[in-house]
């Protein structure tokens, strides 16, 4: 069976500060293509539909199984990981654009370091023990709580939630949903909760929880179906209590 060629529109940009432009490609069809494998095929022969040979398209990819988050981009207007975007399920021509609201490095490659900055800001880690053996196992946790926490541990920092957030972007200091959800996760951990006050204070500053506008796009686009808006509601409750403690004590 001869497959129809796959039509592809890609928004390209040569430098971080240069203007973007569109290029059209037609790639020999293959029933199993996802967007990453399609871009790999294009890289072998980067010729536009008008026959012009161009520089290969730059994009990030790594795991090919939707756990690393590196390959997120705007596919037909929706932010999602490109490895799990199957060509057979996409409307053609497929439009590929860089993940919005992050600085563009080149073509479909964006600088997502703000996710890491956000994770640092909310102290999204747990101090397991000291530099010596504390002779104690990990604290126990109930299955119900574990199941609720597990949902948040699936975050792969792809940045889709932030790309869809109307409050996040170069114009604002807002951390975005992903780092907030990690603060919710770490606050629930039996050891992590010892730094709960610090984390809450971190999200009660500029760019913190109160910069969320509850548009709730994040939870709609999250490829891992993380209950981001529930995390934001729970953090709302935690910060309400923390605010009362800060004002009236005890701390």
């Amino acid at each position: 069976m001869i497959e129809q060629p796959i039509r592809l529109h890609i928004r390209r940009q040569d430098r971080p500060d240069s203007a973007s432009y569109w290029q059209e490609f037609a790639i020999p069809g293959h029933p199993d293509h996802n967007i990453v494998s399609l871009l790999m095929a294009l890289r072998e022969n980067p010729v536009t539909i008008s026959g012009q040979r161009v520089d290969p398209v730059i994009w990030e990819h790594n795991c090919m199984e939707e756990v690393c988050g590196a390959c997120a981009m705007l596919i037909n207007g929706v932010p999602r990981p490109s490895c799990s975007a199957l060509v057979a399920e996409l409307e053609q021509p497929i439009r590929l654009e860089p993940l919005p609201r992050f600085p563009i490095v080149r073509d479909l490659l964006v600088d997502r370091s703000r996710i890491d900055q956000g994770l640092k800001q909310v102290k999204a880690w747990i101090k397991i023990d000291g530099v010596w053996d504390i002779h104690e196992g990990a604290p126990r946790i109930g299955p119900g709580e574990w199941a609720a926490n597990y949902l948040y541990s699936r975050c792969m920092s792809c940045g889709c939630c932030m790309a869809a957030c109307p409050q996040f972007g170069p114009h604002s200091a807002f951390l975005g949903p992903a780092p907030l959800a990690q603060a919710r996760l770490m606050n629930a951990h039996p050891t992590g909760r010892y730094d709960k006050t610090q984390r809450l204070h971190a999200i009660m500053a500029e760019g913190g929880l109160s910069d969320c506008g509850n548009a709730q796009n994040c939870v709609r686009v999250c490829p891992k179906e993380i209950p981001l808006t529930t995390a934001i509601g729970e953090l709302g409750r935690q910060t309400t209590v923390q605010m009362l403690k800060d004002i009236f004590g005890p701390r």
């Binding site: 109307p166 109160s210 548009a215």
Partner: protein, 210 residues
């Protein structure tokens, strides 16, 4: 540690949220309820509503500290929040995203309406005492013009929407509703509150025309 007090960012945002309900939202409900008595006619309205309010103890202080200043802070900080919005309604056509946009747009609309509304009633009363003495007739003369009635209807519906939707997002912000189910259920409660308030407000407007 009192980091959240030393840095007012969070407290200001929560103050904005709180003032929207108390006293501003509560005043809106009271205001609509008072004016729904327009259906009892000019005499009842001028004596039992307007004159009774005018005779309230500490009225100027209450007008300034319970209505004007909280409203001005809520509106001013609301404009700051509105400037943070980068909504893409066409790309993300979800209900909550539209409500998020509408909350900010309605806020600006309400602000414009209030300039007109307060100017033509409370402020106009400073120069022309007859406005306050027979407010019913003053309102009737205004609302009898279809475009003015339309303007008041829009102002009313925007205000009621802003309060009802603000209540739903306030519940998330303060941590009352966290689960999707809880937020959806309370959202419908807010729809009901909004519909009832809108009905009462329209009833009040119609009362001036009878």
């Amino acid at each position: 540690m009192s980091a959240s007090i030393d840095n007012p960012h969070f407290l200001l945002r929560r103050l904005h949220s709180l003032l929207g309900l108390l006293p501003v939202g509560a005043f809106l409900i009271f205001h609509l309820w008072e004016n729904s008595q327009s259906r009892f006619g000019a005499e009842h309205y001028n004596e039992h509503v307007v004159a009774a309010l005018k005779g309230m103890n500490y009225l100027p202080l209450m007008e300034i500290f319970v209505i004007a200043l909280p409203l001005l802070f809520h509106a001013g900080y609301g404009l700051v929040i509105t400037a943070q919005m980068r909504a893409e309604l066409a790309r993300y056509s979800y209900t909550r995203n539209r409500l998020y946009w509408m909350q900010r747009v309605s806020g600006i609309g309400i602000l414009l309406f209030l300039l007109l509304h307060v100017g033509m009633t409370r402020i106009a009363g400073f120069w022309d005492p007859s406005v306050g003495d027979d407010l019913f007739a003053h309102m009737q003369a205004m609302l009898i013009q279809p475009w003015m009635l339309g303007l008041y209807l829009v102002g009313l519906l925007l205000s009621v929407f802003h309060l009802a939707n603000g209540l739903a997002s306030m519940a998330i912000v303060w941590g009352l509703t966290t689960s999707v189910r809880g937020q959806t259920l309370f959202g419908w409660v807010c729809v009901l509150i909004g519909v009832l308030l809108a009905a009462m407000g329209i009833h009040g407007l119609m009362g001036f025309l009878s």
